[in-house]
């Protein structure tokens, strides 16, 4: 009923999760901000339809649909790949060139981020929701509008790809 109250209670507590998902899916800070902005307004408009449900998967579902619509419009060629190894190798090469011991922690982060970025949006989505946002399988199924079996198979595919990509990463001694 009250937009400000709806915002404070239903959107604001999950805004970081919403932004993180959009940022990972769209891989651009500006586009992520636009997507969250659009999603939040839509969420506020339909806040009345949310009765006693958990607001987080509901909001993340709206964000995720907005992001996939944006990706659909852009139709980036590279997004079609299940794992964009060219992009990953590029990011990796950039960090391997950094010599000092102090950057090793940062290098690990950069390479892990690069590996997630290289995943296709469909696989990236389940990894971000599961590993970064800690959602349960049922919640991911709700957010992505997928059968739970599909969520599980995408997760295992994404994990396999990440394991392969990261197995060659030097953790630094």
């Amino acid at each position: 009923m009250d937009p400000l109250q709806d915002f404070e209670s239903r959107v604001l507590p999950h805004l970081d999760a919403a932004y993180n998902l959009a940022r990972w899916l769209l891989r651009s800070a500006q586009e992520a901000e636009d997507a969250v902005q659009e999603s939040s307004l839509r969420a506020l408009r339909y806040a009345g339809t949310l009765r006693g449900e958990d607001a987080r998967p509901w909001l993340l579902g709206i964000v995720r649909n907005t992001c996939f619509n944006m990706l659909e419009r852009q139709r980036r060629q590279a997004e079609m790949l299940e794992f964009d190894s060219a992009e990953f190798e590029l990011a990796r090469a950039a960090t391997e060139a950094e010599p000092t011991q102090q950057v090793q922690q940062r290098r690990l982060r950069v390479q892990i981020d690069a590996a997630i970025r290289a995943l296709s949006p469909a696989l990236r989505e389940v990894i971000v929701l599961r590993e970064l946002e800690g959602l349960a399988y049922e919640e991911i199924a709700r957010v992505a509008g997928l059968p739970i079996g599909t969520v599980m198979s995408r997760l295992s595919r994404a994990r396999a790809l990440l394991r392969t990509a990261l197995s060659t990463v030097s953790q630094g001694e």
């Binding site: 009250d2 937009p3 970081d16 993180n20 800070a29 982060r109 990261l166 197995s167 060659t168 030097s170």
Partner: protein, 228 residues
């Protein structure tokens, strides 16, 4: 790196992958939008007063009042024009400010560094506004845009104060004016001029905060002038 099972991979991702926090500007913009939506929502419009019966005039009376109307218009027109010109610019600034919050696009150039904001204005304005990041004073610069105010292009600098947006409208002026506060529709404004530019800060933060910002701004200007 050995990643034998999902558990290891999971904890690695959890601990190492970047989690992107929503920027404060997004949070503040959305909150402002929700507040505006609430302010605009009460659907209970004041019911119009019951129609009053018009007193009946004869034709003579009607033409007399028509003539009177013309006479009034002739006398009043210059006065009205003067009044409009003198009407406080504050109301326009506040509606500009709320429109920008509503649109959600506060900045056309995004920055945390004045060296990317200042050059952006080149070619978009016929003057070079001073640009300072007041992060040290608690007002980090978010970016800027150009806005049309009474037919003139003005620079708008966007700052954050905690979770609140503060906009600084800048245009050239030879006037001198000490910081003067005003209130318009619940927003606080602070107007000052330094003989080269005139400024309006517009925000929902307290007046004291705007004064602090103006002091920070003036100190920066002085230090630039003194150091150069």
């Amino acid at each position: 790196m050995k990643l034998d099972d999902d558990e290891e991979l999971s904890s690695l991702l959890r601990e190492q992958a970047s989690r992107h926090a929503a920027p404060d500007s997004l949070r503040a913009g959305l909150r402002a939008q929700a507040a505006l939506a609430r302010a605009g929502s009460p659907a209970v419009a004041p019911s119009p007063p019951p129609a009053q019966r018009l007193p009946r005039f004869g034709w003579r009376g009607l033409s007399a009042s028509f003539a009177l109307g013309i006479a009034c218009t002739l006398v009043m027109a210059p006065l009205i024009r003067e009044a409009v010109e003198r009407a406080p610019i504050e109301a326009e600034l506040v509606s500009e400010h709320t429109r920008a919050l509503q649109r959600g696009t506060l900045t056309a150039v995004v920055s945390t560094d004045r060296h990317t904001v200042k050059p952006w204005f080149q070619g978009r304005l016929d003057f070079a506004p001073p640009v300072f990041d007041l992060a040290a004073e608690g007002f980090p610069l978010q970016g800027g845009r150009v806005e049309e105010l009474r037919g003139e292009r003005v620079a708008v600098l966007v700052y954050m104060r905690n979770k609140h947006v503060v906009e600084l409208y800048v245009r050239p002026s030879s006037r001198q004016r000490v910081p003067t506060p005003a209130v318009q529709k619940g927003f606080n404004l602070l107007h000052w001029a330094d003989g080269s530019m005139e400024y309006w800060a517009v925000s929902d933060v307290e007046r004291g905060e705007l004064l602090r910002m103006a002091q920070g701004w003036q100190a920066r200007l002085l230090s630039v002038a003194g150091g150069a």
